[in-house]
Symmetry: C2
Subunit: 251 residues, 2 copies
Amino acid sequence: MNLLLLLDEDFQPDGSARLTGRRAQHAREVLRAEPGETLRVGRLGGLTGTGEVLENTEGLLHLRVALADPPPARAGVDLLLAIPRPKALKKVLPAVASLGVDRVVLVNAARVEKSYFDSKVLAPAFLQELLLQGLEQARDTHLPEVLVRERFRPFVEDELGSLFGREALRLLPHPPARQPLATLGVSSAPRVVLAIGPDGGWVPFEAELLEAHGFHPFTLGPRILRVETAVPVLLGQVALLRENISPPSGR
Amino acid sequence: MNLLLLLDEDFQPDGSARLTGRRAQHAREVLRAEPGETLRVGRLGGLTGTGEVLENTEGLLHLRVALADPPPARAGVDLLLAIPRPKALKKVLPAVASLGVDRVVLVNAARVEKSYFDSKVLAPAFLQELLLQGLEQARDTHLPEVLVRERFRPFVEDELGSLFGREALRLLPHPPARQPLATLGVSSAPRVVLAIGPDGGWVPFEAELLEAHGFHPFTLGPRILRVETAVPVLLGQVALLRENISPPSGR
């Protein structure tokens, strides 16, 4: 944990923050923060800064908070992601949050097993916990929005357009394609949407429907990657093309 | 599994292959391959092609093998990787193999916990199993070499030079650096070595020693990534810069 996330309900009328539960336990048992020491903190959805430990006892962490610094810049990327195996989803969501993705639509697809919908990983509280882990890792405060959609075609036909907006460059990594990512104008696009299929890929109907809705197919090369590898590979490549990996501010 | 890997000892004098164990079980229970059907196969360290099922019974898979196609091109990348948490290593090694890395040196570092050396993940058979999973995923046949080195300084001072060669561009993702990866000449380097530190990073002595041995520091941006995310992100970026992600051959 590189950043202790503070929630609205932690804040007291005097501006200090009182934390309980997992975060207080982490501060006591792992960080071993003594009164007078300073922790790096961030307010969920807001600024980052420092928290001076006023009290760190069994189950309670009391901080004097000073927030002044913006979190890292957004990646400008959204994902349309066929629901991966629960084990893969548990790896993908923290990575996605740590890489600054704004929105993830987890969508059904022909090669998504029906049983995945019953996974506890898709419960909102579980999803949020995975995303928070990613934010704490990357010192970000912006929680990605996660939507789950059980019907692929109605989502693409009726909802996708208003959700992602016309200005976003829509990209479809798809093995039969030959166009490389670097030729698709990622660097000048205001935003990017990546549609990443399940292990085994989108079936032809799905890929065709996405192409009909403006998604540009491109090749990831001859290596077939697992979803949990393809997601960070692609987000890293998009970030490089967008030069979004800017130098740190020097602190 | 997108490729069934055949080992030298599977091959019979008549050129057919007889498989037992996990692979035979997979072919029967998951692929449900009937006699006459064709499976995609590759010979470890060699070519890829097809295997026509001659027999698929309890514990034995007998294939008529035709190998003619080269595996995907190598990435031209080696990794010097501070030994990650065993749980992270189990994610990183299949990814590394699927992305075509040639050699991984797992090295000790100040922020590597001593207990990691006792992990069963570092046993040669366990390492190999993780790498094979990555090859089967990416349809590659080239097993990366993995070395484990318990002493950082002697490795860097005495062994690193001969192991990686002078022509390789040595790169050090390191938070204090400001140079972006795209400016370091990756596209024209014959090979690349990436030195990826543990969660928490290399300590200053380690980073300085690596810099003294020709590693160029660069920034990954303000987001601090877990090792299992940083590795595919960086390998994806290096591949993009090297245009190593070439179009598939069209089959």
